[in-house]
């Protein structure tokens, strides 16, 4: 075989994949195996493909993804812990033609920020929520989250979560799906290429719903936290498939467009 130089292969016509232009060149701070990186990438690709960079405002939470603004080349607002939906509410109402999304962890969204997310969804704010549920507080060092599974050990439930002591894991996404203001609720993951492709579709639908002005779109991404779970990235994915998906099953919980009996329409009539 003739020698092939690498520079002969790197040609435009051979290109099958490239990094989204919305992703910056900043080195990500996420741990190996963390789902945040892939989730960021999917959001970036959707923004690029929809051509909405100039009209998109991201709201970053307090949590591991607090620095999301370093990675996506769009305008950002960095919210206080749990309050991203309140910021998004105002930004969207004051700039209704913009695309506004929050990006939140499970501690941020389902614990300290429960009131803000429930009420933003209940008002049917025309925003997209990306909810990264890794069942733990990653940023502060692996403490118990409201979403932590029964039996799961964390820094503040070292003997495993016990319902009698710590309460039950909160299925906030199921709760959100009950609200008439919500147009679209889905639960996805990004641990395989196939899963990531589906998640991307869901994120795109979430953003497209903003154009249709039909209410809140809520996309949960069941995620891993190798550092917090104290498992290797591969073992984390296995553990997620075995345990997380059982309690947090993947799939659509609500799609107001598909379902013409949509609560949303019922309520506003």
């Amino acid at each position: 075989m003739a020698d092939i130089e690498i520079k002969d292969i790197i040609k435009k016509e051979n290109l099958v994949y490239s990094k989204s232009k919305i992703l910056t060149d900043n080195e990500m701070h996420y741990c190996p195996g963390c789902s945040h990186g892939t989730s960021h990438k999917l959001v970036a690709e959707v923004i690029e493909e929809m051509g909405i960079q100039e009209k998109t405002i991201g709201i970053s939470p307090v949590g591991c993804s607090v620095l999301a603004y370093n990675y996506l080349d769009i305008d950002w607002q960095q919210a206080a812990h749990g309050r991203a939906p309140a910021l998004a509410t105002a930004a969207k109402r004051l700039m209704p033609d913009h695309f506004v999304f929050t990006y939140q962890g499970d501690g941020d969204l389902a614990s300290i920020g429960t009131a803000e997310i429930l009420h933003a969804c209940n008002r049917g704010e025309n925003i997209t929520v990306i909810f990264v549920n890794n069942a733990i507080y990653g940023m502060t060092g692996g403490q118990m989250a409201p979403t932590t599974l029964i039996g799961m050990p964390t820094a503040t439930s070292p003997y495993g979560r016990e319902a009698a002591l710590h309460g039950f894991p909160l299925k906030i996404t199921e709760l959100i799906a009950q609200l008439p203001g919500v147009a679209y609720v889905t639960r996805q993951s990004v641990h395989t290429p196939a899963a990531a492709r589906k998640a991307k579709k869901a994120i795109r639908k979430g953003f497209e719903n903003q154009e249709k002005k039909i209410g809140t779109s809520f996309i949960e991404i069941v995620s891993t936290c190798s550092s917090g779970w104290k498992l290797s990235p591969v073992a984390s994915n296995q553990w997620m498939e075995e345990h997380m998906f059982k309690f947090y099953p993947l799939g659509d919980l609500k799609d107001a467009e598909r379902d013409n009996e949509a609560d949303y329409k019922k309520y506003i009539e």
Binding site: Q53, I74, D75, Q78, A86, A90, A91, R93
Partner: protein
Amino acid sequence: MGELKLMKGNEVIAEAAIRYGADGYFGYPITPQSEIMETLMAQKPWETTGMVVLQAESEVASINMLYGGAACGKRVMTSSSSPGLSLMLEGVSYLAGAELPCLLVNVVRGGPGLGTIQPSQADYFQATKGGGHGDYQIIVLAPASVQEMNDFVGLGFDLAFKYRIPSLILSDGVIGQMMEKVEVSDYKPRWTDEEIQKISGSWATTGKTKNRERHIATSLDLQAEKMEEHNHKLQAKYREIEKNEVRYEEFQTDDAEYLLVAYGSSARICQKSVTLLRQKGIKVGLLRPITVWPFPSQRIAELANQVKGMLAVEMSAGQMVMDVKLAVNGKIPVSHFGRYGGVVHSPGEVVEAFEKQFLGGK
């Protein structure tokens, strides 16, 4: 001259906001200021000026809605009373840290805790000493009339945008609930997108365009040295505000031998006390801080060379008196009088307290 109306202090805040071209109001009901949002909802400004009015789920949400709106370069405001302001303080600290302009209104009621719904001035420390966490200040305007409730909406927004800082109207249940004649401002249109670009285009999160870097509204920097640098910048701004924005009013101070210092409704009461004392032949004057932060320390220090003693009169157990003492720096006696917990002192009570303190009682 603008239109004359007979209005409640709270109502005029709402009216002034619409007329000033405010973009958004976000609030949660609490006595004694609920008329502000009630008036806005009744006026439906979204149908006229396009102003957004939203009843939030809590004061925590309201203040964070302000953060979201302010970051877009919009003129946004909220109002509340004492317990609600306490809830907002984390957000105020974030707004100050991220250098976002907005307008807050506190119609103060008696505390601590759930306290009472009657007027008080016991949130002075909270308003003027930062209140939330970290080294920060906000501009604090103290209206003493319904007219000033009107005027300070515009002034508050102007200062907020001039310095990229939250402004607070520190009112109280007396000013909020009382009706007075007021000359309302003329209608101004809301800022257009182009105007927002001109005014706040260097920082507002209005969408990243090709010709600029992305904008990030944040109060975070994980590097301590960089955060110190940011703090230096904030402190320099605060010194600048102290230099430029001190506002106060004097009443019969020219020949005064004693001075009352009072702000807000307490200053209205003290005007009468000055008259009563002067009828008795005692030369008393009144200094009314209009901005309580920045505080008129320099003028008070000057007056300490003229008068024999000062009495700080406020509806609190003694908060502003600390700033008076700092300004006077031990030169002359400074004392405090005030009813509190929701009780409003009378002009006579102030006279009595003054005589007891400075004329050996009676």
